[in-house]
Chain length 274, copies 2
DNA sequence: CTGATATCCTTACGCCATAAAGTGTTCGAT
DNA sequence: ATCGAACACTTTATGGCGTAAGGATATCAG
């Protein structure tokens, strides 16, 4: 399920996202009538994150979040306009755990590498964030903070804003795409109860039965598989074969992108400054 | 909704995917009892693609596909094991419209560019393909053909198989990620009835109200927005502002990646061949 | 103490995938 | 020519989903 941000009332959503800020303790009409709230937006968001972390986005429902808090699904609607807004709040809250500063003393290259690695690890700690659509940004404080953090690094390259826009896009697409592969692999494994290895073995056997002339029809694919296979897992290696491949793709891809940024920097420096 | 491939019986799924091949007209027990089938796997897959193209993956249900064929949802289960397998079949069928050969006479760079552009356009013609998980490949004939086609281009770089594996990953992540932004933007627009421009204007106004000190807190973001904005749409320009930005990111990112591949080629050539 | 208000629950609606069982058609075998 | 097996397809039912509507109850302002 891809989730779109901000469909409801803009003011209501944005107030919730930035709620820490605007309540200067002044405009709080505290001491109202009615029973004391047993829940809070914070508690609901935390419960939502807990559910999504543990069971995945597919298992996130108003019912499951309510249950975790000992309430029914409908109880949540007092605090949150709907599921869409809850996911927005969860997303921005999760982003709060990203670092907000990177050491630039070793050059922007290593800072970008750290940023990419942190974002990759973050995405795998909360894989459901990869299912929040980027087309309609959530516009929460931590999303903006994360962006500002990356820009503090990238502006030290000396590139102009137009070039940086594209580079930000490339970096995001790449990190999210690479992380998505691992996240989906894990989700598939827990959802179906079949590990990547088992799944592949079972399919590969059947495939050669159903398509006996596979090797003649797809020679380069076979070559890629046989020659290009990673070495067997070394001592400290973690995760499945597919996960290690994804990590290798991540590292190699990052190198490619850093090389490309460097080329752009050199190209701009060679141009007349005005 | 992210869809996982191949959860069901492997033989049944793979037989359906490769069904054109294995029916050598010999093992067909044609002329059975019972009423003649009014539907066919082909017709169901075509109807599914039509629904997904027109209404998006979210609107694809066994009911909607059945309705389009004048049947109930359950009628489809005679031909297809379930929705998952139907999506697999739709995916592989759609891939059939990708080119299977690229002209290499102008060098691998321009061939890769053509491939990326074709894949980008394909993904926007059938945006739902971006929601089919890549963690558990569908393993259909056209998926393999598409891969073999790309490999025919990439092996002419002279890179070894291990390096190519990573580069294939980078290319796929990038093209899919860039296309996803546009696809989600369009989906959000039709799903919510609000264009990107309208949405942004409405949000931006409210945001400055809710967060009056935005400019001081996120100076680089503001700088990126004000300096880095694309020029206004020229005569022949198509799509929304966000779409044109995404296309610019796509072009710029492709350049970055091509530069990176070139660097890898140079690096491998500099190494002792054995 | 009363009435307004806020929290929370129950019920209900219309979606979804699909399991199970029923209906009616069409053939092969007798 | 007829009967029963096989098959296509429908109906019904189960257990999920988000959330609208309305009811019950707790708490405070007056």
């Amino acid at each position: 399920m891809t989730v779109f941000a901000g469909q409801g009332d803009a003011r209501r959503s944005l107030s919730l996202l930035w709620r820490a800020e605007e309540s200067d303790a002044a405009d709080r009409p505290r001491a109202t009538r009615g029973p004391k709230p047993a829940l809070s937006v914070e508690a609901i968001v935390a419960a939502g994150i807990a559910v999504a972390d543990a069971e995945g986005m597919a298992a996130l429902s108003m019912r499951t979040v309510g249950e975790r808090l000992g309430r029914t699904a409908m109880a949540l609607y007092t605090y949150v306009p709907g599921k869409t807004e809850l996911v927005d709040l969860m997303y921005d809250q999760a982003l709060a755990e990203l670092p907000t500063d990177y050491d630039l003393s070793a050059g922007w290259q290593s800072a970008v590498t750290s940023w990419a690695t942190d974002t990759w690890e973050f995405s795998l700690r909360h894989p459901w964030v990869l299912q929040v659509s980027q087309a309609r940004p959530v516009l929460g404080p931590h999303e903006y903070t994360a962006m500002e953090t990356l820009l503090r690094v990238l502006y030290t390259t000396g590139l102009d804003s137009a070039a940086l826009r594209r580079i930000v896009g490339v970096l995001f697409h790449f990190v999210r795409g690479a992380a998505r592969t691992v996240a989906e692999s894990r989700e598939a494994a827990t959802a179906t109860g079949v590990t990547d290895e088992d799944w592949w073995h079972s399919r590969a056997g059947t495939l050669t039965e159903v398509v006996p002339d596979f090797a003649e029809r797809f020679p380069l694919l076979v070559r890629l598989e046989t020659e290009g296979a990673s070495p067997p897992p070394e001592e400290g290696a973690q995760g499945s074969y597919l996960e290690r491949e994804a990590r290798a793709t991540f590292d190699a891809g990052l190198t490619v992108i850093l090389d490309g940024i460097e080329a752009a920097v050199a190209r701009q420096a060679a141009r007349p400054p005005r």
